[in-house]
Symmetry: C2
């Protein structure tokens, strides 16, 4: 089997997410937005798909993989990673991820297996946590500690077994005391038995991070994410040494799983973190296996098909699927009209079920995409 | 799909390998020997096979995996590893390996793919090195440095691009000077351009190991394996610090890939080492990914189907397939009559080609097995 072409299908949709100037999303007025879908075409009639992919990188990607055997994922992955060094835009972690996930999807469609079973499945069901958007100034939204508590209560009532707050970040301020107040209000409202996590502003000082971490220990929080710049691994070594609460990371630090190895060796966090967008499922399983060899857990950052299949295949925790980002004024369930069904439909116990259809389990709404094609 | 049964087929064959009292094999008079073949049976008519498997463990293995989905390899692997703690005989690394490899074989047969492509292939061809038996006292065998040189010359003439000596071990003595003399004789005979490796007696002192290592540096050897007891990681940290030659290990140390992580973190070797018999392909790829994250190579110990598929799938070196063990008085090519064709048939350039048939690519001679069934 040979790859004969790569295609990137661009289509429009109406979005109600608006990014603030730091890049975080909030509910806002409906507006036009664009999405892309990468398709890898073969000479045997089996294609692979993954949402995402940069049209600007299309020629480069074609040049890199057309003519290759799509089942030789490791060879293609190693090649793209090598090309990345001098072409960080064309072969970004995200772009490699889309290609790699499309190849896994293709292999699943070719064999008739869902990707997590192709990788060697571990579980069919993963509990989810509700993951809030970052704080804002929308009245009745995520603008006060009490409104976080209102929203947390609603999420738990809906069946989520756990919840993570993203608190306020610039341009909505940086304020450790307000972060702690939101965490305290949520803990008080949901009671002592619900696991709670915090992902705060990512550029606090060591002193501020320690203050928040100590408060989270008092509030019996489950973990604490990225309160400081991850470029300073030393800061995380210091913080992890000080705190009893589980420090999870790195999340946004570059260097894929190689960086996770450095953090493990240097005891810079208690639990590692990875996301399929950092080089795809091939890279993610390398991170999982690295962590497993060192007795370190790995919490999966973000949701979607790839992260869910990784959670289904990994033999270590990953305790939760991160579902969101959620907001009281945003209809998460209706936010991806290019799917007929969401991959992360949640049951009444707050669980996500691994897709059993071949490949990534993308239930693509072709009518929608073709109608909105650009 | 469900596992409905596990079967272990035992059959006899005529062997010309005789184990010395330390367990190393040498050519000897033909005698009766036994082999086993594990078969995992499913309710969908697809079975998985792997040679090996202990009849004494059959009931335990059946209890552990019958009723499971054979594609959930990670779940089964984690369960067997957990059971191992209090049942090291029933769930030995080797026994887990046979089950895991049979599950990979089954998945390959189910999907129509060779295992290395199921894992995400990296290469279709791997160079082999000739790996000698350990030294002996057989006249004209591997009894003198000059006879090692004779045999090395014959192997290189046959097309092997590299060669590894196993030198003398008890009961044939322990003698660093004789080891070095054999290495020097081989180097002199094959010339300066052939990569040579040494796997010596495994219980030398630090001083003896350093003496040999320094001599191998002078002889421009490619790597040096396991000259000391691997239970003393400190000895390897010390040796690796002293020597420039690549120290490869651990090989026989227990603890699967977890132990490889400890050796990497402690700089106890330059290149890691793994064998599919240490928990199967599932465990082996965890070791590969661990090494990759740390920028460490992994040389594969031993040959056979599983090790070959791992070499086909791994994106890091593994430079060579270990072919053997070989001896001037032993017909390696004819040594496995239970196969119609050897998986490691070597071409004129000394390369092994990955099998392209579904699963592990076992070309089983059922006539032979059925005729010799016990």
């Amino acid at each position: 089997m040979k790859i004969t072409d790569v295609e990137i299908i661009c289509f429009g949709y109406r979005s109600r997410l608006v990014a603030d100037r730091e890049g975080h999303s909030h509910p806002g007025p409906e507006h036009d937005a664009q999405m892309s879908l990468t398709r890898i075409v073969t000479d045997e009639g089996v294609d692979g798909y993954c949402f995402g992919g940069s049209p600007a990188a299309l020629d480069a990607v074609r040049g890199a993989i057309v003519g290759e055997d799509p089942l030789q994922r490791e060879r293609i992955w190693q090649r793209l990673r090598n090309f990345q060094r001098l072409n960080q835009t064309l072969y970004s972690d995200q772009q490699i991820s889309v290609i790699d996930q499309a190849l896994w999807d293709l292999a699943g469609r070719y064999t008739g297996l869902p990707v997590y079973k192709l990788m060697g499945g571990y579980r069919d069901v993963v509990p989810a946590y509700a993951s809030t958007m970052v704080g804002d100034d929308i009245p009745g939204g995520l603008d006060t500690p009490e409104h976080y508590a209102d929203f947390a209560e609603a999420c738990i009532a809906q069946g989520y077994p756990a919840l993570k707050l993203h608190t306020w970040m610039p341009p909505y301020g940086r304020d450790p005391k307000r972060d702690v107040a939101a965490c305290a209000a949520v803990r008080k409202r949901v009671g002592p038995d619900i696991p709670l996590m915090l992902d705060s502003h990512h550029d606090y000082s060591r002193k501020e991070a320690l203050y928040i971490g100590r408060a989270l220990e008092e509030l019996d929080f489950h973990w604490f994410e990225e309160p400081m710049n991850e470029a300073s691994m030393s800061s995380y070594i210091w913080l992890t040494e000080q705190l009893d609460i589980t420090v999870v990371g790195p999340e946004t630090a570059g260097g894929m799983f190689y960086t996770r190895a450095e953090w493990i060796v240097n005891h810079a966090s208690d639990v590692s973190r990875y996301n399929v967008s950092l080089g795809g499922l091939t890279a993610m399983m390398k991170a999982v296996h690295l962590c497993e060899a060192h007795g370190v857990g790995l919490e999966v950052h973000g949701g979607g098909h790839g992260n869910l299949h990784a959670l289904g295949a990994m033999g270590i925790a990953g305790e939760y699927y991160e579902r969101g980002l959620l907001h009281p004024f945003y209809d998460y369930e209706a936010s991806q009209p290019w799917f007929n069904t969401r991959v992360d439909a949640i049951d009444s116990q707050g669980n996500i079920h691994l897709p059993q259809t071949p490949g990534l389990g993308l239930d693509i709404n072709w009518d929608y995409i073709n109608t909105h094609r650009l």
